[in-house]
Symmetry: C2
Subunit: 327 residues, 2 copies
């Protein structure tokens, strides 16, 4: 900066003024400084800036497995929105889901001087760890349930599950079976409850269900068991990958989809439309959720405290894996 000042024959302060386009600097001076900046290809040192102002303009994202479509898309949404809002994004991925790991990741980010943190880790154990934070940082969580202490952006899982179930019921199915996500996941729980509630409202006793682990493999294995039960005409699966596995095991068992069994997934991953058969599913707009998260967090940072939790509505996408039940 001193070099620029020298070249433009002004003080370093004036350079700083030009950089922040403060109003009280003469046109000529500004032009001279700007020229010097360009000539020297000067770029302000953000670290120094952050040191003195106390604002790093950096956000942290803690996540568990960014390999999955959902978290990856959310991260993308966050990054894009952050860039738009003038923030940069630092990531810290969790190796395991215990409290020390979560606290460690957050501490790491704080040490880096982030101004706020977004947590993408929808496991109950992860959310619980958030309640034991010593240092107060602005923090927003994705899909962390309606907890009082942490602001949250979430897709309305329960509504999504309900509309999946209702869709199947509307098609004439007498009952809807369910393959759930892992018990530790809030989303899994909410989808179970949306499914159960819808069935009960229709006067139907929810059949037993099994927990998968989100993977196609687990859907496949659970499917092998379900395939033996010839009462089943409709299954709501808690995510598209497990639905894929289910599709495969039913196919192997010689059951025709959707003629014999209708299936609804959840997420609408890009591949879902090309499964055999194309999967009816519930679309979640992960990227939008990421953007909302960011807006919430920036609000928290810049205006102070409060902000209402945000709910993103999911949407039923009907394809060929569901059809009317003919007795």
């Amino acid at each position: 900066m001193a070099d620029v000042a020298k070249l433009a024959q002004v003080s370093y302060q004036t350079v700083s003024r030009v950089l922040h386009d403060s109003p009280n600097v003469h046109r000529d001076t500004r032009d001279r400084v700007l020229a010097a900046i360009r000539q020297l290809d000067y770029r302000p040192n953000l670290m120094a800036q952050a040191l003195v102002t106390g604002h790093s303009k950096t956000l942290g994202v803690v996540s568990f497995d960014t390999t999955l479509y959902g978290p990856a898309s959310t991260l993308l949404g966050i990054e894009q929105a952050a860039h738009g809002a003038g923030y940069s994004v630092s990531i810290a991925s969790l190796q395991s889901l215990n409290r020390p790991s979560m606290l460690g990741a957050i501490a790491r980010l704080q040490g880096q001087g982030v101004e706020g943190i977004i947590v993408i880790a929808p496991q109950k154990s992860a959310v619980e760890a958030l309640l034991h934070l010593s240092h107060r940082v602005p923090l927003v969580a994705v899909e962390a349930g309606p907890d009082e202490s942490v602001p949250v952006v979430a897709v309305d899982q329960s509504a999504g599950a309900a509309s999946a179930t209702r869709h199947l019921l509307d098609l004439g199915h007498r009952n809807v079976w369910h393959i759930a996500g892992p018990p530790d996941f809030l989303e899994a729980e909410l989808r179970i409850s949306g499914w159960k509630t819808t069935l009960k409202k229709a006067g139907i006793q929810p059949p037993p269900f099994t927990h998968g682990d989100w993977s196609a493999r687990s859907g496949y294995e659970i499917g092998q068991r379900l395939a033996k039960n010839h009462e089943i005409t409709a299954v709501f699966v808690a995510n598209d990958q497990m639905a894929l596995g289910l599709l495969r095991s039913l196919h192997e068992a010689g059951r025709e989809i959707p003629k014999e069994i209708s299936i609804v997934g959840f997420d609408d991953i890009p591949e879902a439309a090309y499964f055999t058969p194309p999967l009816t599913t519930i679309r979640q707009d992960f990227t939008e959720a990421g953007r909302r998260c960011l807006r919430l967090l920036v609000g928290l940072i810049e205006t102070g405290e409060p902000s209402a939790n945000v709910m993103v509505a999911p949407e039923l996408v009907v394809r060929s894996s569901t059809t009317a039940f003919r007795r």
Copy 2:
């Protein structure tokens, strides 16, 4: 830090010494300082540290679409390895693939004070933009081809394509068709050349091929055309998503897989084993590639200049989408 010094009745310098466990500090003093640090829950300000040392211990990752399985896994590998090496990771995603966008992302990261940058953007246009960097930063690219000017970590695409093709040939197929990736992608090009070379070596004239865009949709559309050609008995598809689309269109056209047509994909995404039928494919270890990248970059940063490019070997995974050709 001053507070800690006061509480421990030493100078700030001594606190700094304890923090960096320099050898020449008395046991008692060290204990006193450590106690003070704990009592005040003091954490050094990394920004200040970075400002004075010039080392931010931060790396940047530029990527185009972290929503895809490959880049997402690579990013995960990078982050984990970075954490292990004491670096943190900042991300910048490209909105589009032109040079200004790439240069902007890099500039943004540099402004943040990153010590090195990893680029995950295997498009030719992206790689080309890297050659026009003004500021010299340690930089490593993933899958950027054997370019002289940028160190690269890559999976041996050509070898992977060759082993896919050879596998099909070994099964007795007289020819192997190909669905390629988008022309702008180096990986797509290398897979084409691996495929062509293998065919030619076997004395076979490579049939015409089509470019898809990696998506299941494009595989589906190309498949609809291929389905009409009854000469085809084997197809090597440049990625698993397009293979999924192909599977679907062939299925719709009533062609049986693998009885009538054998198919090999590329990537081995987690879902590939549960396609109908389970997909024979070439596994790439993206996470490992990410780790290697990081090692390369840290080497570049810490030791100075050189370091050989790294090749990661892909691996053929045989499942049920391929079978011996019976004339």
